[in-house]
């Protein structure tokens, strides 16, 4: 039974059809890459999965439960966390606080327990801090020295790492990474590839949108290719690299442009 089952998802904005009958799946412990030219509907598919923008038609089943129509926070609580194409961190909050928010939905401190502060609240906070430290340790020296720094003062790559740490800290079953290596230099990209593998080894399945073919080919177990809102190919990296329709989708555009 696949972890994530997407069937005939369609999403339109007025006349424009961003996604047309897209079906795919992600299995336990798998790294699936979602590739395609700009505007192919990749981020829109992410938004359909996470509930930010529910699809017009089609179903998304996660661990055999239909999640279309659920608000984004319910989807997150069921074990799907995500990062965004344009980094969305809580700028004025410190790095530690940012990551702690990722795990806060597991806590039970409401208004009254916050006011009365039973010992449970203290333990919960400490426990939360503890798991945040574990996750941030994955990034070695990058985040740990900057725990109390406001996130807006961090470099682009570090802010991206905070976003990933925030998505990881709640121990999601499936993590959606939206162009994680965008804006990173080759060295940082290399480190991120190791991180993605590490994430998979720690038991999280990964669905990643990526443009750098080097990363896609090296990291993915399977690749899904979207073009103009339609799935045009799916399969292991080797098959996709040789697939004529994929090449046409990427290259064809240039040839057709030259022909006109």
């Amino acid at each position: 039974m696949p972890l994530l089952q997407i069937a005939e998802v369609t999403k339109g904005f007025g006349g424009l059809k961003a996604l047309r009958d897209v079906s795919m799946q992600v299995d336990e412990g798998e790294i699936v890459s979602l590739i395609g030219p700009n505007g192919a509907g990749k981020t829109t598919l992410f938004n359909c999965i996470t509930g930010t923008m529910p699809p017009n038609r089609g179903s998304v089943r996660f661990r055999d439960e239909e999640i279309v129509g659920l608000p984004p926070h319910e989807v997150a609580r069921r074990g799907i966390s995500r990062t965004f194409q344009h980094i969305r961190v809580f700028g004025q909050m410190s790095v530690l606080e940012n990551v702690m928010v990722g795990r806060d939905f597991k806590g039970r401190t409401g208004i009254f327990s916050a006011l009365l502060r039973p010992p449970r609240v203290g333990n919960e906070e400490a426990e939360n801090r503890e798991s945040c430290m574990d996750v941030m340790a994955l990034f070695g020296e990058r985040l740990l020295p900057r725990l109390n720094q406001p996130t807006r003062e961090l470099s682009y790559a570090n802010r991206r790492r905070v976003e990933i740490a925030r998505a990881l800290v709640s121990g999601p079953k499936l993590i959606l990474l939206d162009e994680p290596t965008a804006g990173m230099n080759p060295n940082e990209t290399e480190q991120l590839m190791d991180l993605i593998r590490l994430i998979r080894d720690r038991g999280h399945s990964v669905l990643v949108i990526e443009h750098k073919m080097k990363v896609v080919m090296a990291v993915s177990d399977r690749i899904v290719v979207l073009d103009h809102g339609e799935k045009i190919a799916e399969g292991p990296p080797s098959a996709i690299a040789a697939d004529p329709t994929v090449i046409d989708a990427y290259m064809g555009r240039r040839q057709r442009a030259q022909a006109d």
Binding site: P72, R77, M93, L96, E97, R117, E124, R129, L147
Partner: protein
């Protein structure tokens, strides 16, 4: 294991700045002979609570509400009615007033939270206008423009307040309770969720924060605190009428918050104090006083838009003596910059 004997002085030293402020506020007033100054402090207390409650919405969650005086009014009228017609002792009337104001906060928040920015602001403005007009025209219940008179003084377990100093200590206690409760709320999961909503609502939602529920809770809390301030005002002045709760009152609260700075617990208090002291200090100018008020507002917004103390969160603790529960994140510790 640290014995508590050593921990207690550490606690004192760490919170020395806060404790010393409270000590001064508690010890000095009995020696002030001129009751006028004590009375000004009482009004600063009332408006500090109101501005802090507005800060919950504007400062922490980023919802611009310009009708906050409506909850202040609901608290005042509810408390007066509860104590005069149901004969409730003041403490219950206070809690009742807060609860009723909170309930109205819920009524306003529930249907309007899916609206964005300026539209939500306009609903709060509309609500303030409607409430003012209802208070002014519902003769049978609120006695309309004649207002409600002879509101009984507050009494705590039978002890009836009479001297202005007693009122001062009561409002001081209420302000401290407000600040303590807001501090506790803000430094745990609840506070992080509100700030996350302000910083980036979409990311907060995707990270598992039920933004709608938290925004409603923030509204209910803000209304509750404003209701508490309203209840104190009613029993302190003992006469309430609609024209103390007009839209101008909401503008004054907004001005205090913007002037003092929002997003932390100190800015609103400083703002409330400043915008009560300035008109009082310039009273001899009589009608030119309002020119100073308007002018100061404009200059502050142009020169320092986050207000005097806005834009960052302050901790009044001396971290060197921090006796907070044993720090468990050693790994991060060794990287932490000193102090």
């Amino acid at each position: 294991m640290r014995s508590s004997r050593i921990r207690f002085p550490k606690f004192l030293l760490a919170n020395a700045p806060v404790l010393s402020i409270i000590a001064v506020l508690a010890a000095v007033p009995p020696f002030i002979t001129n009751m006028y100054y004590v009375q000004v402090l009482v009004f600063i207390g009332i408006y500090a609570i109101l501005t802090l409650s507005l800060n919950l919405l504007n400062g922490y969650v980023g919802l611009l509400s310009i009708g906050h005086a409506a909850f202040y009014a609901i608290g005042a009228y509810a408390s007066a009615k509860l104590s005069m017609e149901l004969g409730l002792p003041w403490v219950l009337a206070l809690a009742g007033a807060g609860a009723i104001a909170g309930f109205f906060g819920y009524l306003i928040a529930k249907p309007t939270l899916r609206l964005s920015g300026i539209y939500l602001t306009l609903v709060t403005l509309g609500f303030n206008m409607i409430l003012f007009l209802v208070l002014q025209n519902w003769m049978s219940f609120t006695n309309g423009p004649l207002g409600i008179m002879d509101v009984p003084p507050p009494s705590i377990f039978g002890f009836v307040l009479s001297s202005r100093l007693q009122y001062y200590y009561l409002i001081l206690a209420l302000v401290l309770l407000t600040v303590l409760s807001m501090h506790r709320l803000m430094t745990c999961r609840f506070g992080r969720a509100l700030t996350a909503i302000r910083e980036n609502e979409l990311a907060a939602e995707a990270t598992g924060v039920d933004t709608t529920r938290y925004k409603i809770q923030a509204f209910v809390l803000a209304a509750f605190y404003a209701g508490i301030a309203g209840s104190f005002y009613a029993h302190f002045v003992k006469y309430i009428s609609p024209d103390s709760f007009t839209i101008n009152e909401s503008f004054i609260l907004l001005a205090m918050l913007a002037f003092g700075g929002q997003g932390n617990l100190i800015g609103p208090i400083v703002g409330a104090a400043a915008l009560i002291l300035i008109p009082e200090a310039f009273r001899p100018l009589q009608e030119y006083r309002m020119f100073v008020y308007g002018g100061v507002l404009i200059v502050m917004m142009l020169v320092r838009r986050q207000g005097l103390l806005g834009g960052r969160s302050y901790s009044l603790r001396w971290t060197r003596f921090d006796s907070a529960p044993a720090r468990i994140y050693e790994r991060g510790d060794k990287f932490l910059p000193e102090g």
